[in-house]
Every structure is written in structure tokens, then in C-alpha cells.
Amino acid sequence: MAKKPQLAIDTRPWRDTANNKPFVRIRSVSKKFGDVIAVNDVSLDIYKSELFCLLGGSGSGKSTLLRMLAGFENPTSGTIEIDGQDMTDVPPYNRPVNMMFQSYALFPHMSVEQNIAYGLKRDGLPRAEINARVAELLALVKLEDYGKRKPHQLSGGQRQRVALARALAKRPKLLLLDEPLGALDKKLREETQFELVKIQESLGVTFIVVTHDQEEAMTLATRIGVMNQGEIVMVGEPTDIYEFPNSRFVAGFIGSVNMVEGIVTEDEPDHVRIRSAELGSDIYVGHGVDCAPEQILWWAIRPEKMVLSRDKPEGLNGANVTTGVVEEIAYLGDISVYQVALESGKRIRVSQTNSVRGNPDAITWEEQVYVSWDEDAGSVLTS
């Protein structure tokens, strides 16, 4: 496999906020529906050519935030700036923004071509230019032969592509996508994910995608904003979100995680030791943590960051090893997930790569096993 090209630093403007102006600037925006606070004091900067994912469960406010960017809802307070212009009170039809709807919202009485041309016609473009642009977009989404069809004569995947083409027709500076792949089946979704990223990269349009599917967010996004109860709880690149979650909510929301409670026994600048009765061992963390001795906190570790063995490993400074009995094994082909019951009764999940083919010596049910991990394999969470 070819070496992954290293992203130049200037393609990640969010890492250098001093020299880059955000393209979309959401400043302390709140939205209330009656007594319900849908979006609560959200501030967010999104840069040009980003593919930003708003990730959250239902009712997290992610769709409301997107609808405020499109102009369908007005913020109760706060301002929204797009490309340096205040958009807070600009109606949707005057915004340099287009949206791809979750239901696609294709006009049922118009053909595919008419759907794509709709926005261009409203702008009063000459007919020849509209036709050229429609043909170009049909080629982009690989629907050249479907221009004369009506939406109801298309499959779900084709409709999704028409919706994308229509949203891109006016060359928006910013494209909003509401669950763009939600209505597709799994296989189609995976194919379309990469296609979407390819289109986004080739056009250089800024995408803001709303999704509840963390896998989708991880695949698509340059950065992810995790939302919960109307607030953005973490913003970061997919690896940050997965490997360095900032709270128990983020750690639990993305991927699977083992979370234990512990108490700080050693708090040094270069390491921390946490005693966890739940885990049945001490946790030695190889970096300083902003905490105090005797503080109760949480430690989260991903299943694939732990190692299973029959023989007791050495451990690390008398820590980072615990033992338990294998209760369940989920064989997924590439990996197996083991559910291990620790002595405290706590169950943890450990996944192991099945690197040996049909391994007869694999760890099996009811076996006493040791679970160990590296000094920086887990995240210490204080909230």
C-alpha cells in the first residue's frame, strides 16, 4: 500500500487559528422553541473547504443548528456569519448556502433536469448556461442518462445523487447536508461516503454534515463537533474525538469503551496513579493530569487498546494488569471481542486481532485471563 500523503498544515486551518479566518462563524447562538432549548449557546468556527460533521443523537440540536445556518430558523440569540457577512436575519433565498435535505425534498412534478436547474432558473441565468451546468452536474453524480426521469422513477441512491447535484448547482460557498446517507442501505452508504468526500475535495466547497452515525462522521469529516442536549461538547479531528475524548459522554458516544471509576493516589507532573476497585488494579498513566490527590475521576479505554494473555504479564510499576474470566466471545472475522468479568463483577470488553488463521490455541470461554495495557492507552476523564 502506498504511503499516505501527509496533509500540509495549510489544509488544516483550524490548527492555526491565528492566521486563518473562519469561513462560518457561529457566535453564542441559542434557539428556544417555547420552553425547550434546542440549541444552547453554541459557538463554533468552521474554515473554508472543511468537511465538518455535527454529530449527536436525536434531540441534540444538531439539525436545528443546521437549519439556522440555512435560514429556516432564526436564532433566539447570537449571530451567524458566513464568509464575513452577518447572515442572522437573511432569508434562506438570499444566502450563499444550499442544503441537501434528509428526505431529499426533490420536486415530484419536475424531472431530474428541472430539479437541478431550479435554482439556476431562479437566478435568471441564460438557458444555454443552465443546460451546460445541468449536464455538468449530471456527469458529476453519474446520472447522465436519467435527466428526463421523474424522481419517483429513481432508486434511493439515485435520488440522493440528484439531491446532491441540485444542492451543488448554484456553486454554493457552503453546502449543508442533513443526514445525507441516512436513507441508503449499508453497502450503498459506504460507497457514497467516499464519493461524497471526493466531490467535496474536488470542488473545494465547505460541507457541514449533520449525522447521528459516528462511523459516517469518522469517515467523512475533517473535524467533528459532538453535540449533546443543545450544546457542543467537543470539537476535534476524528482521531482526537476517538483517542482523546474530553468527557465521559464523548468517550461513550463514539465507539465502544470501557469506563471505570478510580481515585487518584499519586499526582506527579510526569505520571498519575489511579486506584480503581472496579478494575481490581492500579492504573499508571504516563503523563501528568490536571487533578488532585484523592480526587475521584474516570478512566476510559478502548477495547482494542488492551491485551489478553493466559500468563500474567509483568505490568507497569505494579499496575496496569488485572484478571478475570472470559464470559462471552464475539467472533467478527477480523477481530474477536471478548467480554471479561473482572473480580469486582465489572465486565470489560477487549478486542483482539485474529492474526492467526483458525487459531486452535485461541483464548476461549471460561478461561482465566490477564488483561494489560500501556501507560498511555486510556484517557483520564474528569467530567
Partner: protein, 317 residues
């Protein structure tokens, strides 16, 4: 896998009190399905098809003094049965200007009234369809509410508003405005038709509009269409089935309307319903009246077929 019954257990006996009746009917070739279908068929036969045939028959007779006031179609003389059909009633419909003028005038009044009803009803239907959920049923109820009173009574009530010393003129009088003559004019007929048939326009429009996905309007706005354009290019084309259905429900009965033109209209308000009434009761020319009725039916059949096609289109969606 299919479930198999244990052969040692006898199948449960089901009590069938009607089985005897069922068997008896089956012996003469009647099934329950036929009985169920027979009720509406019989109803239509007795109260619709037979009277229609009678009317059609009378239309082919000639007027005569006596009882009944038309010549019999069948006469028997010395064992031979003779069938006499007169087409002169139909010929008169085309040769006498009164009838052609009445038909055209009816169509014109009905068409204009339908357009006015559409213009008045569309915004109402739209507003109800876009109203918050808790309001929608109340508003619909208000649309249907007039049906709790008799149609005749409501038309009479309108005269109270529009007559010389009626509510409207008294109100205008407060500002020193001279009374306006509204009664016995075409204007009053239009008011009557629009007022009476408005619910028939609103309800089908509402059902079409309420089904439209709000995100279609949002998508239109998002693509740069101002509200006017969204209405013209998205809302209006998608509500065409409702417009056709509502218009037909107003247009068809309005053509043959009798009560409204006779109570509110003036002597020059020419509508086929009144002509028919006059033929029947004033001139006692039953055959002519019957011919007028049959011709009116034919005039109305075309819009009915249009209506059915429109409804078919709605069902398809």
C-alpha cells in the same frame, strides 16, 4: 416450516348459526358477497336509474292536457303495441334561443363563481394546512360548521344581509353612504354560490396541501426562490389535483343551481335550473322540462369525468 396439526386431536367445532341460511341461499346461487353488493346496487337502481329512465322517457313524449300531462310512449290499439317517440323537445332546445342562452349563462355563472370560490378558498385552505396542529381541526370544524344549518336557511339569511335595508346597507348608512342595490342581481347570485360552496372548495384543497412536504418549500427557498416563486413553481403545480377536485365540486352543482338564483337573483339572472323549474311548474310542460334535465346531465357529465380523473391522480400519489 409449516405447522402440522396433531391428527389425534379433532379440529375445534365452530358454531355457525348462519350456516343454515348460508346453505339455503347457496342452493339458489346467492352468496353473502352478492347480498352485500345488492344493497347499494338496488338503491341506485330504484332511486337513480329508474327515475332517470322515467325522466328520459318523458322527454321523448309530447305535452298534453290531462293527467299525466304528457302523451304515453306506448299505446296499444287492437292488440298492436305502438311506440311513439317525439324528438321535438330536444330540437327545441337548439332552436329556441332561451335554452341555449340559459345553458351558456349557467356555465358562465358557474365558471366565474368557481374561479371566485377558488381565489377565496385557496388562501383559506393553505392557511389551515399550514396552521399549527392544535389549530387545524378547529379551523376545519369552522369550515364545516355552516352545514349544521339548512342550506335554504343560509341562503335566506344572505338576503337579510344584502337587501335594501339589510345589515350591509345599514352599516354603510352610518357613514352616510347611499344604500347599494345588491338583491336581485348577478352579484347576489355569485355571493350565494361562493358562500354556499366554499367548503367544497376548501376541503379537497386542504387535503392536497396538507400532504405536501414542508421541506419542498424549504428546498425551493434554499435554492433562491422568493416566496412568490415558491408558490408559483412548487405549491401551485403540486396542488392542481386539489384545485381540479374542488373546482368540479363547486362547478357541477352550481350549473344546475336553482335555489340561489331564484332567491337572490333577479329576473335577468338566467340559469338552467330556473328554466327547468318554470317549464315544469309554470308551463306544466313536463316533456320539455325532462329534455332540459337530460341535456343538463350531459353538460355536467364532462366535468364529472374530469373530476374522476383528477381524483384518480390523487389516489395514485
Amino acid at each position: 416450516m409449516t405447522a402440522t396439526r396433531d391428527p389425534t386431536i379433532p379440529p375445534p367445532r365452530r358454531l355457525k348459526p348462519w350456516s343454515a341460511v348460508e346453505k339455503g341461499l347457496a342452493r339458489v346461487g346467492i352468496t353473502g358477497r352478492m347480498l352485500v353488493l345488492a344493497a347499494p346496487v338496488l338503491w341506485l337502481l330504484v332511486f337513480f336509474l329508474v327515475p332517470l329512465a322515467v325522466v328520459f322517457g318523458i322527454s321523448l313524449a309530447n305535452k298534453q292536457f290531462g293527467r299525466p300531462p304528457y302523451t304515453p310512449l306506448l299505446t296499444s290499439e287492437e292488440g298492436t303495441v305502438q311506440l311513439t317517440l317525439h324528438l321535438n323537445n330536444y330540437i327545441r332546445l337548439f332552436t329556441d334561443n332561451l335554452y341555449v342562452a340559459a345553458y351558456l349563462s349557467s356555465i358562465r355563472i358557474a365558471a366565474l363563481a368557481t374561479i371566485i370560490t377558488l381565489i377565496v378558498g385557496y388562501p383559506m385552505a393553505y392557511a389551515i394546512a399550514r396552521a399549527p396542529d392544535r389549530w387545524r381541526n378547529i379551523l376545519l370544524m369552522l369550515v364545516i360548521l355552516p352545514f349544521f344549518t339548512s342550506f335554504l336557511l343560509r341562503v335566506y339569511a344572505l338576503t337579510g344581509f344584502m337587501r335594501g335595508n339589510g345589515v350591509i346597507n345599514q352599516f354603510l348608512g352610518l357613514f352616510g353612504i347611499e344604500p347599494i342595490v345588491m338583491m336581485q342581481t348577478d352579484f347576489a347570485v355569485y355571493v350565494g354560490i361562493v358562500y354556499t360552496y366554499l367548503p367544497f372548495m376548501i376541503l379537497p384543497l386542504y387535503t392536497t396541501l396538507v400532504k405536501l412536504d414542508v421541506s419542498l418549500f424549504e428546498a425551493s427557498a434554499d435554492l433562491g426562490a422568493r416566496p412568490v416563486h415558491t408558490f408559483l413553481f412548487v405549491t401551485l403545480p403540486l396542488s392542481i389535483p386539489g384545485i381540479i377536485a374542488g373546482s368540479m365540486l363547486v362547478f357541477i352543482p352550481a350549473i344546475g343551481e336553482f335555489v340561489i338564483p331564484s332567491l337572490l337573483g333577479g329576473p335577468e339572472t338566467l340559469m338552467i335550473g330556473r328554466v327547468l323549474w318554470d317549464e315544469f311548474f309554470t308551463n306544466t310542460n313536463w316533456p320539455r322540462a325532462a329534455a332540459v334535465a337530460v341535456a343538463m346531465l350531459l353538460v355536467v357529465v364532462v366535468p364529472i369525468m374530469l373530476l374522476q380523473r383528477a381524483q384518480g391522480a390523487v389516489v395514485e400519489k
